[in-house]
């Protein structure tokens, strides 16, 4: 599976594999040829990825090979113990959480989970959580607070699920409550967009002391497609909508909504998931160390001030 703009890179990579195969079969020394193609690949990647449009970045955030919440957990942490259920009605498979050790320290990880194939995608409801998902997340956060463990939320959702049962069980109330409760959690909270950050579905686990985005992700009030369908009354203006919404990591850093960008390996996280996980882990560890030096009262005050000052108006 690949995106259109990745195709020239894949073509060269195929060529490289062929040369390597030929070399090993024939015994000829083709190192020079291989090296020159490797260089070409690298240059091409750099070139393509330095010129990505906003819409292409949105596509990357949804790349079918992109690492998901559990991929990062298994790569970054040890002894992950998943904790299920909201203790009201259900266990939401689109929202996953549990304690795990990072560098020997216990942390509560919570995140949206997408599926890799059709069956998994259905099982995970495409990463769209229901109210029970948000309630499970809040239960886990309160548990972390009780045992004085920091919380890390990894966000990757196309939105909270818009369904009949979701409305019956109070989707709006569940998200609203999470947002409010997260502002006063006594433990450090870090929120990181690792894929898609769509609207209330993302914000429902998105209020913390520090907000980061991985390089090729988006975070906005609406997806470019839905925005196109509402404002342009057609699904065909998604590129324009993406530009208008200014929704990439770079845009949001400029708008001072996020605290930083976590770089991804060249070609995106899916090109080298191990390296991506390492870069993500490094940032989480660094930030947790820094946040733990601050007193809980000060952290809460700063968190509330941080969100209270967001927005631009004319007096």
């Amino acid at each position: 599976m690949s995106l259109d703009f990745e195709k020239p890179i894949l073509k060269l990579e195929e060529k490289l594999t062929q040369i390597k195969e030929l070399a090993s079969k024939s015994g000829k020394n083709l190192d020079e040829e291989a090296l020159s193609i490797e260089k070409k690949i690298n240059d091409l990647k750099k070139d393509i990825f330095s010129k990505l449009t906003r819409w292409q970045k949105v596509q990357l955030s949804r790349h079918p090979n992109r690492p998901y919440f559990l991929d990062y957990i298994y790569k970054m942490t040890d002894e992950f113990i998943e904790i299920h259920g909201d203790r009201f009605s259900k266990d939401d498979k689109a929202m996953v959480g549990g304690f795990a050790k990072v560098d020997g320290k216990a942390v509560m990880f919570i995140g949206h989970q997408k599926g890799r194939n059709t069956k998994e995608r259905q099982f995970r409801n495409f990463g769209m959580a229901n109210p029970e998902g948000y309630r499970k997340a809040l239960r886990l956060m309160k548990m972390a607070e009780k045992f004085n463990k920091p919380i890390v939320c990894l966000i990757d959702t196309p939105g909270a699920y818009p369904g009949i049962e979701a409305e019956e069980r109070g989707q709006a109330e569940a998200i609203a409550r999470n947002i409010k409760e997260m502002t006063t959690l006594k433990v450090p909270v870090i929120c990181i967009i690792i894929g898609e950050g769509a609207s209330g579905g993302a914000l429902g686990i998105g209020v913390g002391d520090k907000i980061f985005m991985m390089e090729f992700t988006w975070y906005s009030v609406i997806s470019p497609e839905s925005c196109s369908s509402i404002l342009w009354r057609s699904w065909d203006y998604k590129e324009k909508a993406a530009d208008a919404l200014k929704l990439t990591s770079k845009d949001l850093l400029k708008q001072k909504i996020i605290d930083g960008i976590i770089k991804e390996p060249l070609g995106g996280a899916h090109n080298d998931p191990n390296k991506a996980a390492k870069m993500l882990k490094k940032k989480i560890v660094e930030e947790l160390v820094a946040l733990e030096k601050i007193s809980p009262e000060k952290r809460i005050n700063e968190r509330i001030n941080k969100f209270s000052s967001m927005g631009v108006t004319n007096d």
């Binding site: 947002i179 409010k180 502002t183 909508a241 929704l247 909504i257």
Partner: protein
Amino acid sequence: MNWFKRNIKNIKTPTSKKKEAPDGMWHKTPKGSIIHIRELKNNSYVSPEDDFHFRIGSKEYFEILFDNNFYKELDENLSSSDPLNFKDRKSYKNRLSSSKKSTGLNDAIRTGVGKINGLSIIICCMDFSFIGGSMGSVVGEKISRAIDYSIKNKFPILIISKSGGARMMESTFSLMQMAKTSAKISLLSKEKIPYISLMTDPTTGGVSASFAMLGDFNIAEPNSLIGFAGPRVIKETIGSNLPKGFQKSEFLLDNGFLDFIVDRRNLKNKIYKLLRLLKD
């Protein structure tokens, strides 16, 4: 009775040529009751025949609620600055200026301090007529400042929601208003100051998924559309029709998400009684 016989079949007048009664004199409810504007005004904009609640704005709510329609408006001139220079088929700047012109408002909410039967209160009331009552930075900031005012003066606060959700033209800034207003409400809770959230038709999206659902009392007008996702989106997602009464106030009350439903004609009295009770 021959003259009642229709010679030409069907109605031939195109909709565009249909003659409407002059606006502002008579109003018609969906069930067909007709009522004169003066009578409507004296009845809190509720049809006396079938109890239909007409959609009204902050001006009318303030009239209904504040004693003698006397109040001090807060942050009257706060307006949006189009931080993203947003443009779709129309520029956001144009949308703002034409909305300001047609509504006489500066944004989709007005906040005021006054009294209800002698009790001091802050009322924030959204205006659906201003870009669908959508929440951008101005709505967030005005609510935020109203809450500051409430904390400072220990006045209870009533927020009347009427909104399609967050305002797309301010993108992530709009989304963050959900966090901003909720953060402020957590401060209000800490001070134990009562917050009543009145949801009216419609209250959806980012507004319902933040401050509107966070009242100490979550109440609603009858038959109002209240939900997270809009009915059209849900219908498209699940691919079938929605049950009757879905996402209406009565549905939310049944599912346990509203404290009570209040007829607009009793609104002032009920709020007064509730606040009085908490004060005793």
